[in-house]
Symmetry: C2
Subunit: 548 residues, 2 copies
Amino acid sequence: MIARVEATPAPESRSWWGWGTIGKALPDAECAALGALVPGAATEPLPVPDLRALELPKVRVRPPAPLAPLLSDSPPDRAGHTYGKAYRDIVRALHGDLTPAPDQVAFPRTEQDIADILDWAAGAGVAVVPYGAGSSVAGGVEYRGDRHRGVVSLDLSRLDRVLEIDHVSRAARIQAGALGPHLEAQLRPHGLTLRHFPQSFEFSTLGGWLATRAGGHYATLHTHIDDLVESLRVVTPVGVSESLRVPGSGAGPSPDRLFLGSEGTLGVISEAWLRLQDRPCYKASASVLFDSFPAAIDAVRAIAQSGLNPANCRLLDPGEAALAGVAQGGESVLVLGVESAYAPVGERLAELVTLARDHGGTPSVSSSSPAAAGGDAEAGAGTDTAADAWRSAFLRMPYLRDGLARMSVISETFETACTWDRAGELYEAVRGRLGAVARRLTGAEAIVNCRFTHLYPDGPAPYFTVIAPGRRGAEVEMWDEIKNESMEILGDLGATVTHHHAVGRDHRPGYDRQRPEPFALALRATKQALDPAGILNPGVLIDTGADA
Amino acid sequence: MIARVEATPAPESRSWWGWGTIGKALPDAECAALGALVPGAATEPLPVPDLRALELPKVRVRPPAPLAPLLSDSPPDRAGHTYGKAYRDIVRALHGDLTPAPDQVAFPRTEQDIADILDWAAGAGVAVVPYGAGSSVAGGVEYRGDRHRGVVSLDLSRLDRVLEIDHVSRAARIQAGALGPHLEAQLRPHGLTLRHFPQSFEFSTLGGWLATRAGGHYATLHTHIDDLVESLRVVTPVGVSESLRVPGSGAGPSPDRLFLGSEGTLGVISEAWLRLQDRPCYKASASVLFDSFPAAIDAVRAIAQSGLNPANCRLLDPGEAALAGVAQGGESVLVLGVESAYAPVGERLAELVTLARDHGGTPSVSSSSPAAAGGDAEAGAGTDTAADAWRSAFLRMPYLRDGLARMSVISETFETACTWDRAGELYEAVRGRLGAVARRLTGAEAIVNCRFTHLYPDGPAPYFTVIAPGRRGAEVEMWDEIKNESMEILGDLGATVTHHHAVGRDHRPGYDRQRPEPFALALRATKQALDPAGILNPGVLIDTGADA
């Protein structure tokens, strides 16, 4: 079947093959310039395929008439819902491979629509892949099985409203399909904010954050969306689960914690009560340079164990600092940020900087100010130069990654968490072992950088970037070999296979290794109880009888 | 069968019928004096039965020879493991009713012992009730079914060691049977502390805290033991579950959160890695009086939403303040405490007191000091008079409760959590509706007091005390009627049936009402997968095929 796409999409339209919006993708010349920085990269960018010329698999299933208005099998809808946004997804799309495209894309407008679609799918043996905004970097939205009669991508984007606000308790009931900016825009007139700002903020949804236990704005304390949840509504194939809306409870195992991280395998999260905060009006940020990365690790450990709980505490190793353009002399850079809705924060920042200095750091720029009227704290914008530079680089990174992908450069990240006693060893092991694998595969020196994104009193969450020249056409298998080695390293050192990117399908080897077997039994039994037909996101997290 | 008990137990021995140690139980004269304060109370205390004269049910099952050294069917062991420490447990024991006594009490010394006992029990159709130190106030350790061939109480007290300490990550691997003081004593030489101080601290174990999601020292932030857990080892009938020891993870639903709150129904927690803290050396406390309880609620809400996160923030309503002896003029009292291992805390306390004053409070005594050398922060001892008075009363309360029970006075507590928008209404409803029920039952005015024990940005955890004269011999059924009404009120107002006392068997009506049905299906499926013979703590949390 040949896709027909008539209109030229607007620059603000979502890219079907890459990150974010079409207008922000790197032009060919910028891709080439970027590629020139990587020895061994291709010299010409892979062209972005014309969707009109691509072949999509034949549509195998069609909905019954009453549901038809909710579903689409248009080529752009199918192509745009084929993959997430992992490097291997981008590359496959660039090579024009849309083999795993869903047969249908559903756009429910109500919770009842979701239930109706699940009913139909369960009866028809059709797999349903819940889809927020498709920013998964773990193969979370791509069907890979062959035991279903067809596949529906269930796009929640039309359920995007803030339904209710409880000002006294500072909480809101919000539909799962709301994108980050749309959600915050609805809260802003009330002076409230969720303050959950993953890197994917613009292109991910509340439901996606909840289903994948997304990591957010805060480097310490409330690092995951989990901590902001009061209650969940989940449409399962056997009925709606709604947990009691309370600030805390000890009544049995937490029902919410079963669905948080269930990645669409047990039900479709339709809405949630979330804890909100007053918008911060005092913010301060600073950066600190370290000549030694081990010393920097000691410094952030002291900070993580100090109870000072900075909102931002991001440590960049020398390579990452150079890549982000915040230090070029081989230093590691610690970016600190504190904020409050109630009182000036300069003193707390000073205490943090002192702690960093006590561990060998050299404070760079530091500043403190009430937020500008109408200013926006999203993603921790501060007034410190390195912090601002970092933020800009941070938001641009996925577009650069896509540009590198077009130059057949392997460019991907993975993240983890481990206790402090293993942090230094993990850093060395990843750089050493991954460097060796990349060298063997590519014949070139790979860039293996690291930053710590979130911190706990008992350990950091290290986030690694790997950049190496790939061979055009072999990028995916080369990356997969590097990725498998990374999962081996994490497993060997007792680090988690993912701190906040979810398991999806790509992390299954590492997840299957780290997950206790009795818990796997529990999860399979739960899956069987809630999704007896085995239609929900098959192959993610677990295999069950129906889709093993 | 007549129990034979020869030796007179020492004062520091655990009471088989009441709270804590024998030596701290109120003498008859004090019981009588206490009863005289409650119009309508009995004039003579119920005698404490002589264990030697009590009838225990016939022992129905005996272990195979290899396990025999681990089990005891001695009358004191069986009597001491018959009940928890709820009011209704104390009263039944005082009336000499030991009907639900276990047939055997097992004292495993190793994890393998636990597995062996579970294997035998599963094969023999014997129920196993995990037992930490028996302080359950929710019927959590009392078998009430009739579908098993016998009952074993599985006492973990011999697994009581700190096995390993990771100083860098500030964490320890600790066996589940360690009592609070013994656990802290093993950490103290390392300058570390778990800082989990439930009221039951002396008489409860790590495993019990974990299995019931116990509430601890901190009034804000890390209120439940859940937040201190790095990983768990759980012996289930189908194998040992050991979760990865990491500071944070987003790899699927949290395995630990399935076992936290599972109350012995899915497995026996044998050990855990816990996050520790440096011992605080700066502490300060203050108390603030309020003429109006609604104003006091507003004040603690402002504090809970301020991000100042006091370690202690306990609000006593006028009745509770009078009962604890910290205010006699009808005022509500807010007890504040802050602490740090790193820096003076006086300023933070001052900010908190200012917030309270801004909401109509009158600061009483306030003081700040480095902790005395060798001093101990357990249960938040400070230097403020009201705070100290409160702490003494707090630890003595269960003994007073037992004294009142001996005077046939109904004296019991229950606790909950709700969002702020319902807090005032809940307070009034509980006082009004419970007062009416107690009046109807007893013909007298009941005392219904309230304190807020833990606080969240989105709501408080109110803790209620009920005191009313009972009729000797009818105390349990009278209390059960009050308790049922309390669960009705909580359900009507959307408050949780328990914030940190667990569900056990006593809270089943309220829990069954609040638990989402799909989650109940998941829990039953999990139970079936991990405990196929249905032997583990039957009737707690859920009914399953084998024990419904």
